[in-house]
Amino acid sequence: MSDAVATPPPAPIVTGGAKTASSGGDGIEGGIGGTALGDRIYGGIIWVFAICVPILLALIALEIFLAGWPALHKFGLSFLTSSDWDPVNGKFGAAPSIYGTLVSSAIALIISTPLAIGVSVFLSEFAPPWLRQPVAFFVDLLAAIPSVIYGLWGIFILIPALRLAIIPFLRDTLHLSVIPLFNGPNYGYSMLAAGLILAIMVLPYIASVSREVLLAVPRSQREAALALGATKWEMIWGAVLPYAKSGIIGGIILGLGRALGETMAVTMVIGNRPEIKASLFAPAYTMASVIANEFSEASGDLHLSALMAVGFVLFVITIVVNAIARWLVWEVSRGNKS
């Protein structure tokens, strides 16, 4: 995680190379001239790599779009708004899976963001040094667990816990069933289960980035706040967190990207029912799950195309979410400077 924050930009090296090249042209022969040629080749190769990435992205988008076009063309806007997903009769509407992807990711972020920030604040501000490394290690380790393992854990631990304890407690003991969100069937397999599992899965992403960012906040920032008579709480809330805000948002977005695209663990616990229900206890479906579940046996052209179209919609949503995130980070960091 730390290298994502601290990677030195390659651009200055190239510029440096260009300068050497021009000074080499001024008549200094031999070794330096050779370096200039090497620099040019190096610069060129870097260019190739740099250009390849956006081109690759554009080609992927184009391919998916073209493959999904027959379905998008046939159903038009109703592909996004219809809840009909009926492969037998060739009717495809992706609304429930779009809804499921967005809601399950939102639940994940709502739960994991405060937790992750809490963990990282503890690690950067409170934890004694001997505790910091081990706890950070275990949080990072969460990211290394394969998603199918999360899914199995979901089936065998989380689902029974939801069905036997958590859902009855929320719905009946706390009488939250007056709110549609908490009123519904009790299978265990539900939107809530997917959100909870995603929350655990995205936690390490948000926590690691936040921790690195908090550790990068200058000491002077903290000392200044303390010198003004702030308590530790006021120091963290007033001086450290605002300074690290843009980085933390970046971490949240990284987590969101992971949540939007997660397939296996979600499929195993969400109940896979393409319906939009207000209740968090009702089974739901996500875009990634639809594709993973149906692709291998989709034999009709339209069905295949509809799955590709779902992939395209997921792709667009991910890009839009990321764009909004970049903009947020940019806005926040600009606000910090002024």
Partner: protein
């Protein structure tokens, strides 16, 4: 100079990238096989095939034994029936395999017409989680259809109670569990429901994936079985092989002759026997054998097929494949029941072996 050099390299990169892109765009075979996570021709294999996952344990045993016996290596990718049909249509494999017969629409896209060669029989079992029920539950197709339509919602519904006289049924809700991934198992199950319930045939119909009127979805046999096992009151359907090997409670189903039959290797072979008696001599075997006649026939049974070209221009390949099929339908069949697959009835074996002779090998 530096700038120009960069531009040249940059332009080359663009060409290289777009060239690669065009290639994959114009060659859907590559992208499909890559997406299926399977490499096509593996080095050293004489024949390659792809398709159904359901018969894979048996097929892999067959291929291993046949390689040892005849020295012919067959590489089979169990990527699902749909993937198998796609790869066969694109000509990237020598034969396909499918749990459901190909539709006319799919057949029309093939470059070379294919024979459907049934290899073994599979069955779909109804499993449930109701510890109160101590003896095997009895169900009819009509009742199963109504449960899956969400019309029967309680275990002690009159319709279920009438079939299970003297059995104390739980008063709980029924939770319907179905497969959510595309699957031949779902095809067989819904084919059966469509054949016994006109209403089911009209509304969700039959298919490898469909719009379920009720319940939740599990991924794979293990997903469905897991959800059923964990949720009291749940009902689901899984393959016989899976149900047997995991000792799940299995319902007996009323067959066309009016008997309640538990699924077993014998009762699904009996279903094929009853159905095969009615096949016309020139049948293409693209027929459903659900709800087959016969006193002991288990009604939710089905063939699984190998899809083999009717003509082979590559004579060597064609001969190898036909020889293998000969072996599979005679010696190979004997291995089926040990792995809980239903072997084909002998009468059908004989007919199929005769059918193999009509495969044209060489130009």
């Amino acid at each position: 100079m530096y700038k120009r050099c960069t531009w040249v390299l940059g332009a080359m990169a663009v060409l290289a990238c777009s060239g690669g892109g065009d290639k994959s765009a114009s060659n859907p075979k590559d992208s499909t096989s890559a997406a299926n996570g399977a490499s096509t021709a593996s080095s050293g294999a004489d024949l390659t095939g792809a398709g159904a996952t359901f018969p894979y344990p048996l097929y892999s045993k067959w291929f291993a034994e046949y390689a040892a016996k005849a020295g012919v290596k067959i590489n089979y990718q169990s990527i699902g029936s749909g993937g198998g049909i796609r790869q066969l249509t694109e000509g990237t494999v020598d034969f396909g395999a499918s749990d459901a017969p190909m539709s006319d629409d799919e057949m029309s896209k093939l470059k070379t017409p294919v024979f459907h060669i049934p290899t073994v029989l599979g069955a779909v079992t109804i499993t449930y989680n109701a510890p109160e029920i101590t003896q095997p539950l009895k169900l009819t197709g009509e009742v199963i259809a109504q449960i899956y339509e969400g019309k029967i919602t309680k275990w002690n519904d009159k319709a279920i109670a009438a079939l299970n006289a003297g059995v104390k049924l739980p008063t709980t809700d029924i939770l319907v569990v179905h497969r959510t991934d595309g699957s031949g198992t779902t095809y067989i199950f819904t084919d059966y429901l469509s054949s016994v319930s006109p209403e089911w045939a009209k509304a969700p119909g039959k298919g490898k994936e469909l719009q379920w009127p009720a319940g939740i979805g599990g991924k794979g046999n293990e997903g469905v079985a897991g959800q059923v096992k964990q949720t009291p009151g749940a009902i689901g359907y899984v393959e016989l092989v899976y149900a047997k090997q995991n000792n799940l409670p299995i319902a007996s189903i009323k067959n066309a002759a009016g008997n309640y039959v538990a699924p077993s290797v014998e009762s699904i072979t009996a279903a094929a026997e009853g159905a095969a008696a009615k096949f016309p001599p020139n049948t293409d075997y693209r027929v459903s054998i659900v709800n087959a006649p016969g006193a002991n026939a288990y009604p939710i049974s089905s063939f699984t097929y190998l899809l083999v070209d009717k003509t082979f221009t590559d004579a060597a390949k064609g001969k190898k494949l036909v020889d293998f099929l000969h072996w599979a339908l005679t010696d190979g069949e004997k291995e089926a029941s040990a792995l809980d697959y239903g072997p084909l009835p002998e009468s059908l074996d004989t007919r199929l072996v005769a059918r193999l002779d009509s495969i044209k090998v060489g130009s």
